[in-house]
């Protein structure tokens, strides 16, 4: 009955707990604990886990998804959602592959990718903010449209022959075993942390998600901010597409199929409220690492990908269900006491 709760005031605690207590009992602390636990289990489960090259490989399981998850977190906090991100990856990748056929080189490919990503984000943003359409349906539609265009262009073919210098993005190392993607992940985590938690823009995103009407009356340009968030998600999808295409070295129209689900799981696991209004970037970053290590650990144990997806699905539901079950139980006991 979220519609009803939405209009009642949020619970305000009578006394604020101490900062230390708040940090320790936070969602992020729990995630960190889970991350350490999974790391430990992985080291026990297989002797191959604690190898710098293996660990470096493990980061590929979350970096590209995390780029999009950061932008998606802001979008979800503002009360919208974008299910078309994986389709944007497909379209961007197809556009780059097409440009390769025409003989363009790496800088041009990156530019084309960013422009296409921006355009996709702008289409989503315009439909949602300009026409006032619900983002979930719009992005289900554009998800089919964007990937559909890839299918029209590519059919059952694929693009290969990416230039040597282009392969750096997904396969390059900046220092020792630190990949370019991992460096990007750290940079984006910092950038998005500052954007969401240290700027007026970030504050505005929270306000819009908590109470859109109040945001309008406070003079926030709600539509414009939401439009910018869709643009941001488009660009991040383009960057993820560059890295993914470069890592795979080829483009098929089915590239990144179903990634939107994993990205949304990452965002929700990171403690972002799917109904908007709350969530943090450190949470999303930790969730990315947790999911990446989980997938990598399963991979080392030879668990097939589709079986892993059962765990991802359970994780998605469990993460939201467990706190609710806990509070239900707590209420139950309090009632019995009274």
């Amino acid at each position: 009955m979220s519609e009803i709760n939405q209009y009642t005031a949020r619970d305000i605690p009578e006394r604020l707990s101490s900062p230390f207590k708040r940090v320790v009992s936070s969602w992020e602390a729990l995630l960190l604990l889970v991350a350490i636990l999974i790391f430990f289990i992985n080291t026990q489960a297989t002797p191959y886990f604690l190898d710098w090259w293996n660990l470096s490989d493990a980061t590929f399981n979350f970096t590209e998804k995390a780029f999009i998850a950061f932008a998606m977190a802001l979008l979800v906090i503002s009360g919208e959602i974008d299910l078309s991100v994986a389709a944007i990856i497909a379209l961007v990748s197809t556009a780059m592959g097409f440009a390769v056929q025409l003989g363009y080189d790496t800088p041009a490919l990156v530019a084309i990718a960013l422009v296409v990503g921006l355009a996709c984000g702008a289409i989503n943003g315009l439909l949602v903010t300009g026409l006032g359409l619900p983002s979930i349906v719009v992005t289900i539609g554009t998800m089919s449209l964007f990937r559909g265009i890839s299918y029209i262009i590519l059919g059952d073919q694929s693009y290969k022959d990416y230039p040597e210098s282009f392969l750096f993005f997904g396969q390059g190392y900046v220092w020792s075993t630190v990949t370019f993607e991992l460096l990007l992940f750290v940079i984006f985590a910092i950038v998005y942390y500052v954007l969401l938690h240290r700027t007026n823009f970030g504050r505005a995103v929270y306000v819009i998600g908590n109470n859109p009407t109040a945001a309008v009356f406070s003079g926030l340009r709600v539509e414009r901010i939401k439009f910018l968030l869709f643009l941001l998600t488009g660009i991040m999808s383009a960057i993820a597409a560059i890295c993914l295409t470069s890592r795979l070295g080829s483009t098929r129209p089915s590239i990144g199929l179903g990634l939107e689900l994993e990205i949304i799981t990452m965002v929700v696991l990171g403690g972002v409220n799917i109904l908007g209004g709350s969530g943090t970037i450190p949470g999303v970053a930790l969730a990315a690492i947790v999911m990446g290590m989980l997938i990598f650990g399963f991979g080392l144990l030879n668990v097939p990908g589709i079986v892993m997806s059962i765990f991802i699905g359970l994780l998605l539901i469990g993460v939201i269900a467990l706190p609710k079950i806990a509070s239900n139980l707590k209420n139950y006991y309090l009632e019995r006491k009274a």
Partner: protein, 329 residues
């Protein structure tokens, strides 16, 4: 007179007109397209989509969404096919009822999580969608069940013809006929609309919102289970990825049929026509020699166009005093 004009302006009439024009356009160059056999073939081909769209309609009416229908279909389809493979003696009608029950059970899981734990439906069904798909792999070990591993009666059932129409079409018609009284003539049917239109008012009139939503998920799941048997027996194959992404077609059919994603608005006629619209396009593409690779983009565009039409026509109805800033995801 006014009611006649209103009826003409309704979504159902416009959609029926659009489908009629589409058929006319295609058959102006390929006359065989509008023959009775061809049209009933399209109806038969769209039957499964129609069945699922009706179930999804109820879910969307109550402001929820069920993205797990295709995975539910695939899982029940696989289970039924495996039972048939192991015990070919079990009569088809028993398997059919079992498929409906299993589908309803899977739907009840969704419904329970939405009702009792108050988890947003999109999260629940995204989660169960992957879980169901994963389970298919676990139970089947990733193997296919092919036509020769199914019994003859198992695959013959949807093709069995009565009065010139295959059983598959008759089942779709039966579901439609059951839906009309359910939605229009029962308290539960009214509750679907009440919950979607104004949840607060629904609570005050004594409607249990959670229970109503639970019921829609159970019905949607039961229909997905039914569709699971029909799909597997019609195409005579079961594997992990059958009906992959079909949930989007189902949602698309709903949106095209004028069912508002914000809840409370929709009709059986709209749902059927929405599904038929997609069915006609799907069947027309190969006829007019357009690559099937176009279909995804076309249905995507149709969703966007339909939701834009829905929203814009709804906006004209009332005078907007304060533009609400956002509907939320």
């Amino acid at each position: 007179m006014k009611s006649v004009i209103n009826a003409l302006k309704s979504r159902e009439t416009l959609l029926a007109l659009a489908i009629f024009l589409l058929v006319l356009l295609v058959s102006s160059r390929y006359p065989a397209f509008s023959s009775v056999e061809s049209l009933s073939g399209i109806f038969n081909d769209t039957s499964i989509l129609m069945i699922l769209t009706l179930g999804q309609m109820l879910v969307i009416l109550t402001k929820c969404i069920d993205l797990s229908v295709a995975a539910n279909l695939a899982l029940t389809g696989m289970v039924v096919a495996m039972i048939n493979n192991i015990a070919p003696g079990i009569p088809v009608i028993v398997l059919l009822l079992f498929a409906i029950l299993l589908g309803a059970l899977l739907g009840a899981i969704n419904g329970y999580l939405v009702w009792k734990l108050d988890i947003p439906p999109i999260v629940v069904t995204l989660g169960t969608m992957t879980i169901f798909r994963g389970l298919i792999f676990v139970i089947s070990d990733g193997k296919w069940i092919n036509a020769h591993e199914m019994s003859a009666s198992f695959t013959a059932f949807p093709r069995y013809e009565i009065l010139g129409l295959p059983m598959l079409s008759w089942i779709a018609i039966l579901v439609i006929l059951l839906f009309i009284p359910l939605v229009n003539r029962t308290a539960l049917g009214r509750a679907f609309f009440a919950v979607g239109c104004n949840p607060m008012a629904a609570v005050y009139t004594g409607i249990n919102i959670g229970r109503t939503r639970f019921m829609t998920f159970v019905i949607s799941g039961a229909l997905a289970g039914l569709a699971g048997y029909l799909w597997v027996s019609r195409y005579a194959v079961a594997y992990v990825d059958i009906a992959g992404g079909f949930e989007l077609d189902v949602v698309a059919a709903c949106v095209i049929g004028g069912i508002s994603i914000a809840g409370g608005v929709g009709s059986i006629g709209g749902a059927i026509l929405g599904a038929l619209f997609l069915g006609v396009i799907k069947n027309a593409l190969p006829v007019v020699d357009i690559s099937p690779f176009w279909q995804l983009a076309i249905s995507g565009s149709a969703i966007i166009l339909a939701v834009a039409l829905n929203t814009l026509s709804a906006q004209q109805k009332g005078r907007v005093i304060l533009k609400t800033a956002g509907q939320g995801a």
